[in-house]
Subunit: 345 residues, 3 copies
């Protein structure tokens, strides 16, 4: 297996063995964080980070990752880049990607709902960059997928059901039940993290209960892929529309606000109307009472957490919250991805 | 003495011996700037710089410091960070600090008057970060204190009264007279630098004359601490309200505009009204004539200098101006702080 | 020859031998890009990049250059810097440059038309920085000159007429004909790249045909210098005002939109009126038909390319387009400049 030069747009594009190669290297890198083994992997190399949407955690973790591998991550914002659009003169993706390939070992891109005219347009832009670039394109979250988050999630869960930090056991996840539930809140959040969680959890042999109010359906392609993974593993996949019953027997609870399929209207993302719509569904909050009905579940979330709406403080800061471990794993997973796709390993 | 893991919010929180450890290491680092001795101290480690207020000199000097220690400083702006406030959903300081502690060796924060609703709220935010973070919090200037500036000041003065650049003599400062005077100008400046100067000058055994127009009182806690230091050393502390008499016999002249205690009204910083108020006090400018009445004093200022208002060009660019030496010392002092609190020494 | 400590504001300020030293080192660095020979040249040193105007390619290539030399480039924007102006208090260039010289090995500055009140004011600012700074000032594009672009251009041309990437032959350029032509488009572009191209092409012994609509004259000093170079080499220099005839016999075609000498009015750059003015000259586009009349010319452009206006896709993406090679050479040329003016070579 050789991942050198590969793009990572969605975990779905990579085989299970390829994903495991990332996860195993990530665990090694977590156990020996500043070892000389990894500190020259990107020596004097540059990773471009292209943030159409600003981000704190993604930027912090990718820039740390490049630094710890001996390289450097450049933080770039497209406001400084005159890209060609239907309405204005500017540079084509062909030209931008071709030149960046001459300078950098790889390019990360983040583009979310509010920067694109319709659902999927962000992911399409990544695919266009991948078509023209001669170096790997890494998805740092687009409007459909968030592969680094999905890999960090499953690594964190496998650590908790395995032998602890840096010692994940992925077989321990087989047959566990994930409750992935919509949550109340006024943040009109993306589909990318929860969709990647569905794909990866089903890929690793988990039962899945997806809970959300009527009208909050996710991407039908993602649901189809998830069902196919569950069918291949003989695990269950169910969709429910109440905020309570999914907690029964769950081993992992993942609650997160997301927008409805009507979020795009008139060629733009309608954040305010989505916030209004979500206000009609209070009470979709993960509480200690609800957690008490699970099979001693852990609580997971991709952060930032909207405390009080998505989850109570008691659960988010409680002893079975894995949110900081998962956040830390973003660093290790991304170091492994950079090392395997563009490094001297 | 072990400073590893320590926060630095104000010099007042550290013992004299601890401050001297920083100053002695800073002088060594200045004498041997690019020596191999220091160039792996932060190897592959990340220092987060959190700028609620933008800054040139502080950013330049901290980022250079991390680079020269073999590490990397990330420039972060909170506009990209959805922090929870009374009015809006977002991330808590608990969550932000806990995650950043997983990625970085330490966190610097800068937050000044115009970003906070009342005096002291910036300093309180640093204390909240320090409470939750598992790594050192370094104050890069808040609305009360500016410890790195204070240390750079006293290092620069001790070089001039000692054996020159990189060869400070701190005992030579004992019994010297500091004139710290309010200055004219339309910049509505912070209290943090001058307050830190009072604390550190009194700590190092200097006589202090504090001069300002009636109505420009500083933080009463800082004044009380300063008086206590002077009492312990048997040195004098006086407050005067004329722009002339303090120059008599001074060895160090520090002039700087600052705002009045009425700068906060209606839950925000009132920059424009403070600028207007200051216009009533022209002539509080350090001139060559005034300097001629001192005991051959040096001129010091934390920069940026408001030439023509705070000081004349003749003095600021003159042979006894130490402003560039003090500015350079920001780098060396900060390298020493990073090395001692988060490095492999 | 010792270039250590030298400013680079315009190629005109350096001797031919000095420019060749840069170009020869750049070619070596291109052939052995990540060799240990270069990776400690700026070890732990900082290069400040001062962007009055944002830029993607210039920032990417300079920041990569510093990284590949073992150093670090800081991306700085002047909005965070309170510089003194006629209308407002702030820091003088004297103070800014003196302090930056204490921190950094060198300073790059970019300032274009829309940030200055009259033509040449950007270049004057660089000269003012150069006067006060104790470290090299590198022009990253100002309103008159763009030396790094000019050097990258000529390196790319000499590779195509030489032995390929990393193996330029500068003598092969002698007697070749450059057509530098104004081009249609709505981007109101700077004079700096085309002026630097005239200076450097004439310096390397090329015949020059400069084509533009009446009223689009360039800087008369640049034209005079260019004529003088041509005279010294015995090559031709002609100015024509039609979009067709210059292609006959050309070996290198360079098409680029630029603004008229009337672009500055009322103390500011009039972008909108310049865009309107240019719309009167459609058809100044480099097409395959026009290229067919040349002596098998290569197509060059400093990018970003305004495809459809300045040049057709067929030419820009065609087999004799050197645009990506020239863009890549920005990196190598800049590494050589940083190494020679501020490195440990």
């Amino acid at each position: 297996m050789d991942l050198y030069g590969r793009d990572l747009i969605c975990t779905q594009d990579w085989t299970f063995e390829e994903l495991m190669a990332v996860l195993e290297l990530a665990a090694k890198m977590k156990r020996e964080r500043f070892s000389e083994r990894w500190s020259s992997v990107l020596k004097h190399k540059t990773f471009f980070m292209f943030f159409y949407n600003p981000s704190v955690r993604t930027r912090q973790s990718f820039e740390c990752a490049a630094t710890e591998l001996g390289g450097h991550a450049q933080y770039l914002e497209p406001r400084a880049m005159r890209l060609k659009t239907a309405a204005s003169a500017g540079e084509t993706v062909e030209d931008a990607a071709k030149v960046m390939s001459r300078y950098a070992a790889g390019i990360g891109i983040r583009i979310l709902e509010d920067q694109v005219p319709y659902y999927g347009a962000g992911d399409e832009l990544l695919l266009e960059y991948a078509y023209w670039a001669d170096v790997p394109i890494i998805n740092m979250a687009d409007d459909r997928f968030h592969p680094c988050q999905g890999l960090a999630d499953v690594m964190g869960w496998a650590e908790w059901y395995g032998q602890g930090p840096g010692r994940p056991d992925y077989t321990a996840l087989q047959g566990k039940k994930l409750l992935l539930t919509w949550a109340s809140g006024a943040l009109a959040r993306s589909w990318c993290s929860v969709q990647e969680a569905l794909l990866i959890a089903s890929r690793f042999g988990m039962h899945i209960t997806l809970a959300y109010p009527e009208g909050y359906d996710l991407d039908s392609q993602v649901i189809a892929w998830t069902k196919a993974h569950c069918a291949a593993h003989g695990t269950s996949f169910e969709i429910i529309h109440d905020p309570e019953s999914g907690y029964e027997g769950a081993h992992i609870v993942y609650s997160r606000n997301w927008v409805s399929p009507q979020a795009y209207q008139d060629g733009m993302f309608q954040k305010q109307s989505e916030i209004q719509k979500a206000l009609a569904y209070p009470g979709w909050t993960t509480t200690a009472e609800r957690m008490a009905r699970t099979d001693n579940a852990i609580f997971t979330h991709p952060m930032p957490v909207d405390r009080g709406s998505e989850v109570t403080d008691e659960v988010a800061s409680g002893p079975r919250s894995v949110i900081y471990d998962v956040a830390e794993n973003r660093l290790h997973v991304q170091k492994a991805i950079l090392a395997l796709t563009m490094g001297n390993l």
